[in-house]
């Protein structure tokens, strides 16, 4: 099971009335992540495809809007389809007879906490819950001692492959490892190079300095 599926399991499994949770990538109409307690009558992949197609049809019927919130009630289960982001549709399967108030509460909670588990436009694993790096400003010609150290600490804390992060910065920037091991001595120009590299490795659109 992938790390992200484990994260989804950690989020959903404590909710006893939830039998399954599918996160669907609406760009391709296919399963992105799944948690299933026990078994489903359909394979999660197939269920995701069908639900995505049904949701698209309904959206088309309602003036071409994007994914719609939808509740399906059957004797054996209640299924809620909830758009969770521009690219992500969540399908939550509840036990039949679960009070709808409880269903809505669980749906709201799961959707609000999915965060980085939702499909993204890129395939970067973003630093989950990572705060913006609080980096000090520096003078044009001076060194960037505190900033450089904080920048690399930030990278070390959030890089996907932490053990290789500094090597990647060196290779991307052309700066020797010895230079990066003393970030106190980075010049402003070197700092800019390192900041761009950190941004690229973490897949950040912007890096607030």
């Amino acid at each position: 099971m992938t790390d992200l599926n484990l994260e989804l399991e950690a989020l959903v499994s404590p909710l006893q009335s939830v039998q399954a949770c599918l996160v669907i990538d609406t760009r391709v109409g296919e399963l992105h992540l799944a948690y299933v307690r026990g078994t489903m009558s359909l394979e999660p992949e197939e269920a995701a495809r069908r639900l995505a197609a049904a949701n698209r049809s309904q959206a088309d019927a309602f003036s071409g809007q994007d994914a719609l919130r939808c509740t399906i009630e059957r004797a054996s289960e209640i299924v809620v389809l909830e758009p969770a982001s521009p690219l992500g549709l969540v399908a939550l399967f509840f036990e039949g007879g679960t009070p709808l108030g409880l269903v809505r509460m669980h749906v709201a909670r799961v959707v609000s906490e999915l965060g980085d588990l939702l499909p993204r436009r890129d395939v970067v694993v973003p630093p989950s819950g990572a705060p913006e790096p609080a980096l000090t400003s520096r003078s044009a010609e001076g060194t960037a001692s505190r900033s450089g150290r904080k920048l690399l600490d930030y990278l070390g804390a959030h890089a996907p492959d932490t053990h290789a992060a500094l090597l990647r910065v060196s290779l991307q920037t052309g700066l020797p490892l010895s230079r990066l091991e003393s970030p106190d001595e980075l010049t402003s120009q070197e700092f800019e190079q390192v900041a761009q590299s950190v941004q690229r490795i973490l897949g950040l659109e912007t890096l607030t300095l």
């Binding site: 099971m1 992938t2 790390d3 992200l4 599926n5 599918l22 996160v23 760009r27 391709v28 296919e30 399963l31 992105h32 992540l33 799944a34 948690y35 299933v36 999660p44 992949e45 995701a48 436009r121 890129d122 395939v123 970067v124 694993v125 996907p160 492959d161 932490t162 053990h163 290789a164 500094l166 090597l167 990647r168 060196s170 290779l171 991307q172 920037t173 052309g174 700066l175 020797p176 490892l177 230079r179 690229r200 490795i201 897949g203």
Partner: protein, 428 residues
Amino acid sequence: MKFDIASTGEHLAEHSMDFLGGSQIVAHRYHFNRLWDQTMDDALGVERGIEVRTRAAHKAAYKLLSGLVDRLPPSTPAERLGIASSVFAAMGQGKLELAVGRSGGLVRGDFLHYGWGRGWGRGRRGDSIGEPRSTTRCSGPTDAFGAGFAAAATEVAYDLDPGMLRGDEHRCVAEGGEACGIRVGRGVESLLPQGVGPDTAADGLPPAFGGLHEGRIAPIVAVLRDFLGGVRGDDRGVIEAFGGLVTRHPADYYNHVATDALHAVERDKPRALEAFSALLIEAGRSCAFHTFGGVLASAEWKTMVGAPSGDPWETVLGCLALARAFGFGKWSVQAYEPERTLVLTSPGTYETLFGKLIGADSRRGRLGILPGAGVGIMLLAHGVQWRPRPELDGSLYSTLVRSSPWVVEETRSIAWGDSMDRVVVTRR
């Protein structure tokens, strides 16, 4: 048309190397391929990285396909294009629809390994290994191998010289498209499709030799080769095996890319050579952990060889059998003291052989597969709890690497003129 690599290829048994169309081929999992691309793009920048990888694929594929066509009965351009797309699919690279003529054309790619493979394994339940998510920002097309292959296939089909055409991927599923699109058009430079073949390998390699416990390795290699011989791309051109995506590539592809990237780093970023070398070793280490480890933990391994017991010797020998079955070369154990040291030798790997025959001395100390795998094998032998079945994911790998006591030294290499490859892994 399904292409059967096993019956068409050649096997240099004494050196555990495989050839197709006169080109050496090796198997790798998606995880290694992604890391390889990432390292080359870190060295070259994404745009230049795609260019270098496409050119390397073009050269390697031209050599492979032209060699293959030469070995088969005379064929028409249409038949050759059919052979090319069948070979591509059989190698687990995906499906190519080559709508091309002498001057090029458009190619549709479905299930291409690099682009489509990025999303593989996400959302699959019961997939204990899977392919770790890509950590590289996807800011453009990623299927350089497919683009270079498509250009080469067109040239070979129409008896054109290598480089008269070029391939560019203009649409990629990794960016959200339905399928990948490759445009084959006029080329801008002639290419020299150098590479390693069975004859040059036999001439260039020293006499084969073995190591400790050969009697235990050989039967596993035989079982694995038998299994792999029957493995080829499915109707999508995809090989799902051992809990991951498996491909075969011409070894020349990896070697051309690494050589070109090395030259660029030497020229443009000489102070980053240390990092480049370390990342090549990281690719080898990660390959051993994720690929060899993934296979050892797979259902297929359990069926063929038996569930891993956790005995370190068994783990080490299993990894060497895998390296041989994947065509990396005849890797052997010269010495092994559990928890202390591992010495691996080989008459040559797919990297060092290329280095000796084509890359000359330029890649001295810049080869990663054997030294990196040496460390990765020690991580598997002494860092993984094999019972119950382990979760060999990125998190465990990072944890083990951060606390790894192992250091490796490449003491000999045929690429430098020695009579063997030899790496020594010890505690720091």
